[in-house]
Structures are given as C-alpha cells and as structure tokens.
C-alpha cells in the first residue's frame, strides 16, 4: 500500500510540469556554480600545489557545490511538498484515501516516500557533476559519498518538515511559505549560538544547544568527509518526529473542530 501511494505520488509529480521545471532550474543553477568554481580552482591550482597540505579539488569544488545545492533545495523542497496533503484537502480528494482500507500511517509514509524518491533522483542528477570530474582527475570518493549522504539526509529532513506543514493548511502556498520559514529558521538557528556571549556559555565540547539544533551544523562535517553517527541520528530523529506529527495531524482532521 505504501509503495502504491508512493509510486502514484511520484508519477503525479512527473505528470505536472512543476517537477520538470524544478529539475531543470536546479540543474542550471548548480551547473553554473560548478563551472565557475571549477574555473577558479584551475586558476589557483598551481599556487596551491606549492603548499604542503594543500586542499584538493574535492574540498574546493565538490564540497561548496553540494553545500550550495542544500541551500537551493531549501527553497525548492517546500515547493514540492506544499501540495502533498493540502491540495488533496482543497480538492476534497482526501476522502478517497480516508475511505479506502488503509491507515493514516500508510498514507503519510506513502506520500513521504514518493517525494523522497523524486528528491533522490534530484540528488543523483546533482551528483553527476562531481562524478564527471573522475574523467580528468582523482577525487576523494569517500568524501564525495559522505557529502552526498549528508545532502540526501538534509533533503529528506526538508521533505518531512514540508509534509507536516502541508497537513496543516488547505492552501498549498501557505504550506510552502511556512515550511520554507521553518527550514530557514532551523538552518540559521546557530547564529544565536555563534555570538560572543553565547560562546562564553558554551559547554566543554564547544557547542551550545542552539547550535546542536541547527540543520546546517550537522551537514558541514559530512561535507568535510567526517561521518558521525550522531549527525545521522539527528537527521533520522528529525524525519521521524515530523512524520509522526503529520500522522497525528491527519488523524485529527477527522475529529470535530
């Protein structure tokens, strides 16, 4: 059942021009970033090679590219998730799922996996750019995969939060703007943590609570190739939390209000 709803959702995405437009726009913007960074790298490469522990192409091109991709997707994922539940509420098609012999959990997981499938396609297409460098030079594959895994987890978290926001309102536009707001807030929440005063209040590990909550904070180490199970756990918890919220919310839709 979950697979069925997920596949339907994925097919529906490709029936609308939105999915194609999103794939194209993301690709163009990131491609431009990729090429310009590659060019900068070519210019400074000779000077860098003199240094003893010089950063390689993976550090200077791939990591910033995937970091940039996360920002672009921060804007784009809410546009994809906005219609998941709210459009069905608006068009009153939710009753088809509600009166079918399936549980709320199956509906939410199906919708989520459908959108996740699309996002994995998107990440795979972004990954083609760094992978194309293999043709010309050696890259740090371990770091690349760590960064790609990080990007996938970040995007999967965006989708979970966006799905929950979509259950809250009948207006897809409101779902989009509120999930964008939520994600951006969680992205920059560590700004408060990086002020001088806050730094004094940090614990021994050099981290304060707000920094720990930041989506960005757990992504940066992975871009550098540092693979920590705590970071993975953070994203998985984040996803589960919002999915549970979404299921609860869907159940509440049937109650008197």
């Amino acid at each position: 059942m979950i697979r069925l709803i997920a596949l339907r959702e994925l097919k529906n995405l490709f029936l609308s021009p939105l999915a194609w437009a999103i794939l194209a726009v993301t690709q163009i913007i990131l491609c431009y970033q990729f090429l310009s960074q590659l060019e900068t790298y070519m210019q400074v490469q000779e000077k860098l090679s003199v240094l003893e522990k010089s950063p390689g192409i993976t550090d200077l091109v791939i990591a910033p590219l995937l970091g940039g991709a996360a920002i672009v997707l921060l804007i784009i994922v809410p546009l994809l998730t906005m219609r998941l539940i709210s459009e069905e509420q608006k068009n009153q098609t939710l009753s088809l799922l509600f009166s079918a012999p399936i549980s709320m959990t199956e509906i939410i997981l199906g919708k989520y996996l459908g959108i996740l499938g699309f996002l994995i396609i998107l990440v795979a297409m972004i990954a083609l750019m760094p992978l194309s460098l293999i043709l010309g030079t050696a890259i740090d594959l371990g770091q690349l995969f760590s960064a790609l895994l990080g990007l996938t987890l970040v995007v999967a978290s965006f989708a979970a939060a966006g799905l929950y926001m979509s259950t809250l309102t009948k207006q897809p536009a409101i779902a989009a703007i509120s999930s964008f707001g939520l994600l951006l807030f969680l992205w920059i929440i560590n700004w408060a943590g990086s002020s001088v005063e806050a730094e004094l209040a940090t614990n021994q590990n050099g981290e304060n609570v707000l920094t720990w909550f930041s989506l960005l904070n757990h992504f940066e180490p992975m871009l550098k190739g540092i693979f920590s199970s705590a970071d993975i756990a953070y994203y998985l918890l984040f996803i589960c939390l919002f999915l549970v919220f979404a299921i609860r919310r869907l159940e509440r839709l049937r109650l008197p209000h």
Partner: protein
Amino acid sequence: MDSEVLIEVNQLSRHYRSSKRGNKHSGSRDGYSIAVDNISFTLQRGEVLGFLGPNGAGKSTTMQMLTGNLAPTHGSIKIAGMDLMDNPIEAKAKIGYLPDTPALYKELSVDEYLIYCAQLNRISKGAIKSAVNMAKERCSLTEHGRRVINNLSKGYQQRVGIAQAIIHSPDIVILDEPSVGLDPIQMIEIRKLIKELGESHSVMISSHILPEIQTICNNVQIINQGKLVLNASIEQLTQHMQTQKLQISCTQPVDIQKITALAGISEVKQDSNHIILICTLPTPANKEHERENAIITIAQQVIELANQQQWGLYEIYSEKQSLEAVFMSLTVNDPLLKQGLNID
C-alpha cells in the same frame, strides 16, 4: 428474506464548534452546534435506503462518519458486525463511497484512476483488469477509458466517481447525491444501476430528488436539523399516501352529510371558504394511473351532486399527496411557510 445487518448505527452524534453569533439552524449547546443528533438506524443486505433532508440537515455528515472520513462525537458505527473505530481497515474494505464532491484525481485518465482505486482497495493484481472493466461497463464508461478526467463533462465525472465506489464490489455502497449533474437519460441509467446494486449489496443514497428516492428505494429516512424524523419503508409511506385530498369551493351553503355519503370519501373538513374532502383510494400509491382514475371518479360524483343541489360549485382542485408532501410536513419548521404550503 434473510436479514443480515450490514450497518448498525447507534446513537450517533457529531458536534462542531459554532460561530460566536450562534447557529440558527442547529441546536446550540455550550458553544457547540450539533450537526447530527443521536441517530440510530440499521441497514440490511439487499436494502436500498434513501436518505432525505433539506440542505444542512446532516446527510453528508452522517455519510462521512459512516465511511470513516469524520469521527463521531458520540455513538458507535458497526459495519458488518465490526466496529468502525476499532477495526477501521477491515470495516472500510466493505464500503464503497461516493462523496458529495467526487474525489477524482483530475490529471489522470479514467483507466489510470480506476486502476489506482482498485489497488487502494487491495484488489489482487490478476483481478484488477476485470474489476476496472466491470465498473466501467456498469457506469457506461467503456469508451472513455483513455480520456483524462479533467476533460470529461460533469456527468461523466460523476460516473467515474460512482465507478470508483463500486470497483471492489463492496457490501455497502454509500452514494452522496449520485444524480447531481446528470442529464435525464443518465439519471435513468444510474437509477437502474442503483437498483441492480441493491439486489446484491446494500445501498444508501442521499438525494434532494424525491421521485428518485420513491422509485429506487425500499426504505426512506428523513433527517432534519440533525435528527431522524422519519424512518419508514416505502410500503408504509404509500399506506400513508393512500389518502388524497380534494378541495372544492362553492357559492352556496353545502350539505356536508350528502357529500360524506358519497363512495370513497372518508372525511370532510370545512373552513371559511372551501371544503376539503379526504378520499381513501383503494389502489396502492405506486400505481399512479389507477390512482388518477379513482380520483377522477370521485371528482365526477362530487360535481354531479353539486349540480343537482345547485351549490354553485366554481372550483375543484385535487391536491397531490406525495412523498414530497410528507417530506415538507416533516421538515418545514416555519409555521408561516407551512400555512402557505397548505400543510397540516
């Protein structure tokens, strides 16, 4: 007749938070309005139940509760012996539902949509094709399988909605105003389809169209302001409708006893300017033609008598006593409107 109970509704209520001004149409209780108030009924296999009521009476709310789209505030619903709250998945598998706005994914083609619905209802892979074909055939959609739903006319979209409701051959089919947007020929086809469904399944339909209910249902429920005001079989209703009123007006005083002596007239009422004769008709109400003949015979007798006695008869009027009149008398609450409609 085997009487397997498929739906058992017990003291079902649903409240909703009312606006601050208070709701005129539904009874207000502590800031809550009542959409459905303590309804109990049962639906048996082979029964076609008509659900009547004015706008906002709670028809759709009741149907949404029966299909698990809304949770009741109080009360219980049992579908084929299973509680809808405790075993929602098993219970929902037995129901096919057409909401008042058909739940259609308009960007899909009819075939894609129906296949998806069949899969959602857990029809096994091998049986999907035949289920889809059966549903399309029954709703005369066979030639439209490849068309995108959005491009279909409203009537055809309605048919797709009905096809969706019957695709898994559910024991219970719940149709919320199935004939909205259909042309008269389609309506006749849909009525035929509902009658067919009623033979093997139970059907519950809501409608504003009274003759429709009269022709296809064997039981009628009338709901008004959230309360069930009538629960009767069509036979009981027709008994109710065996009487018909004749209204006459004369210029001269009338000897009532002479009219009462005429055959077929059971009661005579007189008010300021006209006389109402209540006639008992020997034939059942569903035989429209025979009824008509019987009332003509009585009317002719009355006219003859009035001529003989020189009462100066200037008006005679036969009032239709139909399901409509029963419906109106039960659901119209405004006394002024009642007077205008001549209901007692």
